[in-house]
Symmetry: C2
Subunit: 256 residues, 2 copies
Amino acid sequence: WADQERLKWFDRFPAKAQKTVTKSVWGLSRHSAGMMVRFKTDADTIHAKWKVTSSRLGMAHMPPSGVSGLDLYARDGKGKWRWAAATRPSKQEMQVVLLRGIAPGLREYALYLPLYNGTESLEVGVPKGAKFERLAPRKAKPLIFYGTSITHGACASRPGITHPAILGRWFDMPVINIGFSGNGKMHKEVGDLMIEVDAAAYIIDCLPNMNAAMVTERCVPLVKQLRKARPDTPIVLVEDRRFPNSWLVPSKSKFH
Amino acid sequence: WADQERLKWFDRFPAKAQKTVTKSVWGLSRHSAGMMVRFKTDADTIHAKWKVTSSRLGMAHMPPSGVSGLDLYARDGKGKWRWAAATRPSKQEMQVVLLRGIAPGLREYALYLPLYNGTESLEVGVPKGAKFERLAPRKAKPLIFYGTSITHGACASRPGITHPAILGRWFDMPVINIGFSGNGKMHKEVGDLMIEVDAAAYIIDCLPNMNAAMVTERCVPLVKQLRKARPDTPIVLVEDRRFPNSWLVPSKSKFH
């Protein structure tokens, strides 16, 4: 969707999706979950200034560092992504030193954006005289993760430790996160958007948000829709996982 | 310290410690980290009402569920502790249904208390007619973990997933958590309190809060103090762990 108009720069879906997907999916799609910004710098200090769209910086079960924070990674000498710095948001608009005292060297960085909040604006700063190079989106095909709150990022303490972000670093591939808290339900309208992207793989991980009737109704049609439009793109169907307390509460097993 | 006077019921140290330990350690010792309440019930629903001492329910990097929440575990048919229910605190005084629809059977439960807040009061409720049995503290010797914020519980999303709590369930042994955020510094005055407890083992895990000079000054004396008072109690010295970003920020290595 890189070439399509978006309502806000850091929206996950193009503007037209507002007319097709459910209101809940649209609202959640405006969270910047899964987005990362890459740059190269030799700076010894990296600053960031960012503003989130909602004043609800954290949740009862998820800290502001994950909901509304930034999370910085850097490539080490072997080209491997390693964690560099996290943030502790306390206001809707934050200005912080992400990291200081950085060892000399021109390095690639990746900055992950807030998981359960929208990103209104973002600026990255380095000291005068330091090199700074913006990196354009990679041309490799992305992995698209369509799922639930677990995909979206619940309840990660930092944006870089959702499983799609981890897999993105492991495979060193671009990732598109379309997890929608409570609303990953194999909607055809989401499938319509997915087929527009020439993905490396479609990973469908919606079962915890669905009941048996929904799965019967929607699963095969979604797979056929993707297969028809993209005959060669791998489609990964992720198995259900149980509630860890379903041994104790029999009604929880009804979801499986 | 079970037989000694405490200022509040859920304080970790006896009242007299206020005169000997540092102000910071005393303040942090009033958090209910590591405490758990055990009971047996055959109820199909378990309620809880609790009040925390501070209105700061969460932190920028740790959610209210860990800072101020309760965390329920139950023994399964094989006697193994398994997770049952967590809470999402939104007020200083909370009243919630911890779990409903529980499978029939008389079971032992363990309820872990808030990690980074004091517990002012706690009540557990079951429906009329259900059996409910309070369980006295176990007589087995406890594991005493003396450490830093990591021991204290930073930044666990639930009180039951700190490493002392996990080890307590694995070994099925009582645990005393004396981790003090930023203030686990091998203080002799803390040693004075530790030797009063006939522990199964003393686990000393303070290095991330100390510099080299402090370690030189205090480590051997603390071990000798414990060894002199308790000739047969195992003393475990935990190795330092590095900051995960010290490869990138050389000054972080000075701590090691």
